[in-house]
Amino acid sequence: MPRLDTFDIKLTTGDTPLQGPLKFIINGFPLEFENVSGGTGAGETFEATGAPGSFPHSLLVHGPEEGDWEVKEFSVTYHPAGEEPYSIRFGAVTVDSASDLNIWSDRPLPVMNV
């Protein structure tokens, strides 16, 4: 597993918004996003960069303190140290007040056409 220098996230909220600023958690440590634009209101798109500079055993977005949060879709572009960046697209999910959202995925194995 390479060190993850930075990652870019683009996340669209569904009908149920998230109140408050979005934070990410790397290996249990909460950190602030950088270069934030947009928001997590209903139908809004949030874009930001995270700079963990560490080996991600877990990478999460902090879920809501109260109520649910409907995530319509999101994509993450990971920038591992010394390697080419790669992107993963995630589908819809609902995060409740007792949960955090996983935003980590290993680099997919290469697939070839036969």
Partner: protein, 266 residues
């Protein structure tokens, strides 16, 4: 000029001082403790939710026409390759051909065993997993092209994937379930109990087996080895006709993966 190493360790300028031996400090036991009952005002543990990963659009783009589309992915161990076909190869059951000697069970596998280095074939739903001998060196590319060509040719000819005799000998899922349940209770779980692990049979569909790993096995880095070298072997000895054996465990889920705390009662 002597190096710092020879000065220090071979009677140079400064002889090392003898190290004063101290009684060893008591070592804290690393054994995890059973979870405490939640106290008042204690924040409940947060769980992790996983969103589904969407397919890469560039790979799923249709090329048009009736040509069978085939993609291949080499597994990290470099010994097996998963070949994905755009239509079901086998529906409702799966077939595991462990050696070239048993290739008569599957006319498709028979063609794949003609490729040098193929050691086993698993056909399940849309996928064909081919293992090759560790003695085969070099990249997979030419081998995959050969295998893909044979699969396409076989499917286009509408020839059968498994033999009639294989289908006739296939036990029903209730019998498979009962036999595997016995193996789990009498062989597998007693064996992995030393690691506080356990497995359970989730379901059997046709002859495809779904299992779940629990306790010390959930999230364990060695769970794949346990599955391939222990569970597969025990299951296939008990019921040789079973096909794919799939682990349905979410190894990152829950509040206690990687075994940070002993489950209650252990």
């Amino acid at each position: 000029m002597p190096s710092w190493f020879s000065k220090v360790f071979k009677g140079g300028a400064a002889a090392p001082k003898p190290i004063e031996k101290k009684a060893p400090a008591p070592v804290a036991r690393a054994r995890p403790t059973a979870p405490k009952p939640p106290e008042e005002n204690e924040k409940p543990k947060r769980t992790v939710v996983h969103a589904p990963i969407l397919p890469d659009e560039s790979l799923s783009a249709s090329e048009g026409g009736d040509k069978i589309r085939i993609k291949a992915r080499i597994e990290p161990d470099q010994q097996s390759c998963v070949i994905l076909v755009d239509r079901p190869v086998l529906d409702g059951f799966s077939v595991w051909i462990p050696t070239a000697e048993s290739k008569a069970d599957s006319p498709l596998a028979e063609k794949l065993f003609e490729v040098d280095g193929v050691t086993s074939v698993l056909v399940h739903n849309f996928t064909i997993t081919v293992n090759r001998s560790p003695l085969v060196k070099g990249d997979w590319e030419s081998m995959i092209k050969d295998l893909g060509g044979r699969i396409r040719e076989h499917l286009e000819s509408e020839a059968t994937v498994v033999s009639d005799s294989f289908l006739a000998d296939l036990p029903n899922s209730e019998i498979i379930e009962a036999k595997l349940d016995t193996v789990i209770k009498t062989e597998i779980n007693p064996g992995i109990a030393a690691h506080s692990g356990a497995i359970s049979l989730s379901r059997v569909e046709g002859n495809t087996v779904y299992i779940e790993m629990m306790g010390g096995c959930q999230g364990c880095a060695a769970s794949d080895i346990t599955l391939r070298q222990g569970i597969h072997q025990a299951f296939r000895e008990a019921v040789p006709q079973i096909g794919a054996i799939l682990d349905t465990t979410d190894h990152t889920a829950g509040t206690n993966p990687y075994f940070t705390e002993l489950p209650v009662g252990m």
